[in-house]
């Protein structure tokens, strides 16, 4: 019976303290009864392989011991949906926006090496999320074991729910791909602008110098580029809140048009110096480059307006009414 002893010893180590001896005594009796039952049927003692088969059928010691544990889960089914909701709020709606809109921009703007700071900020965000998930899980695990009476999701009054509006906006949710693209574009172009902004460029002896207006508008430009991050964020988190999205977009478009207008007003945007090249040729190059920039700026303004009109029409078109009323 050494096998049985080994089995019981293994089970015992996984049992709750204080009940170990009691459970093992009962289990030993049960196994012994089963073995005796089989032996009396066969008319001979069981061999080691047959005893091993019986024990195998009873299950792995850890599994068997686990059945006696008071609770099999960390967070039970009653609390789990609330746990998920809290995680979503804390991690996605608080932590990420705080990093993306506050911690990150401040760290990058004041850093000596913006690209390194960006990577460090992303790493800090990931670590903060891991820590937050751990803390929230711990809190809910404690709540599961020491339940409190005032669980907000259990005590509620239907009469305190907000009234259904007489009309609801006709808002098709913004596609997730659009939202992600906006977020990525804002982060990538913002980072590039921060890391590689210069006012002079050297192309093999040809020096292109940006007019002072570009340096003066650096921060407004950065703000406009980065503003697609909150727009993408709103679209990702609340895809149906198209009005909020449009509000942000209208602000961005207005800022873009203002910047374009200020730039156009400057009249000259680049200067070119190329020692060794004929002066007349350089003047022609400056003239055509500035013309190209002017056309680009005007095109940009036209596209901004043309792109905003269809969305504005969609947002402010006739609203549909609530179609699910069962009021009597």
């Amino acid at each position: 019976m050494e096998l049985v002893d080994r089995y019981l010893y293994a089970v015992k180590s996984g049992l709750p303290k204080g009940q170990q001896d009691d459970i093992i005594a009962e289990m030993a009796e049960d196994i012994r009864s089963e073995i005796e039952d089989l032996e009396s049927g066969l008319g001979r003692p069981l061999n080691e392989a047959e005893v091993a088969t019986i024990l195998e059928q009873r299950g792995h010691p850890a599994t068997v011991a686990g059945r006696y544990l008071p609770q099999q889960y960390l967070i039970g089914p009653a609390l789990f949906p609330i746990y998920l909701l809290v995680l979503k709020i804390v991690v996605l709606w608080v932590l990420v926006p705080v990093f993306v809109f506050v911690v990150g921009p401040i760290a990058i703007a004041t850093a000596a090496h913006p690209s390194k700071t960006l990577i460090k900020t992303l790493w800090d965000l990931a670590m903060s999320q891991v820590f937050t998930v751990g803390v929230v899980t711990l809190v809910f695990a404690i709540m599961e074991r020491y339940p409190v009476d005032a669980r907000p999701f259990e005590k509620w009054d239907p009469r305190r729910l907000p009234r259904v509006p007489k009309t609801v906006p006709d808002s098709r949710p913004t596609p997730r791909s659009t939202a992600i693209a906006e977020l990525a574009a804002g982060l990538v172009f913002g980072s590039l602008l921060v890391a590689w902004f210069r006012t002079t460029f050297d192309f093999g002896g040809v020096h292109v110098t940006l007019a002072p207006i570009w340096r003066n508008l650096y921060w407004p430009f950065l703000l406009v580029v980065l503003s697609s991050v909150p727009k993408g964020w709103v679209s990702l988190m609340w895809p149906a809140r198209t009005r909020l999205r449009f509000g942000i977009r209208a602000a961005i478009d207005t800022a873009t048009l203002t910047l374009v207008a200020v730039l156009l007003n400057a009249g000259t945007w680049v200067d070119i110096a190329a020692p060794g090249f004929p002066a007349a040729g350089i003047a022609e190059a400056v003239k055509w480059t500035n013309l190209g920039i002017k056309i680009t700026l005007v095109t940009m303004a036209v596209i901004t307006v043309a792109d905003a009109i269809p969305e504005a029409r969609r947002i402010f078109r006739k609203k549909t009414s609530w179609n699910y009323s069962i009021a009597t």
Partner: protein
Amino acid sequence: MNAELFENLRLELRRGCLILAVLAQLRAEHYGYALRKALADRGMAIDENTLYPLLRRLETQGLLVSQWREEEKRNKRFYRLSSDGELILQQLLDEWNAINSSLKRIIDGEAPVGELQLERSI
């Protein structure tokens, strides 16, 4: 997939029935192995990893009482229904019979018995 689904649903269906069967069988005193055999002999086989934790839970809930006693020169733990257990068993049997009757009417496609009873407290 179907076999697995069926097995899950079967276990779900059996879970409540097992409690009823154990409580009913323990109207007479049994020790663990004898209880297992008695249930299996009546077509309600239950494996030891389910039975013993269940017995402990029911005892903690006050529905069973147990006692270690020597029988045939061996120590065995005997279980029987407590007075609270008897009361609960009767209530559960009434509920079981009501469910059984309802199911039969539903499966046979019989007409409703009475008006819909709202069980929610208003």
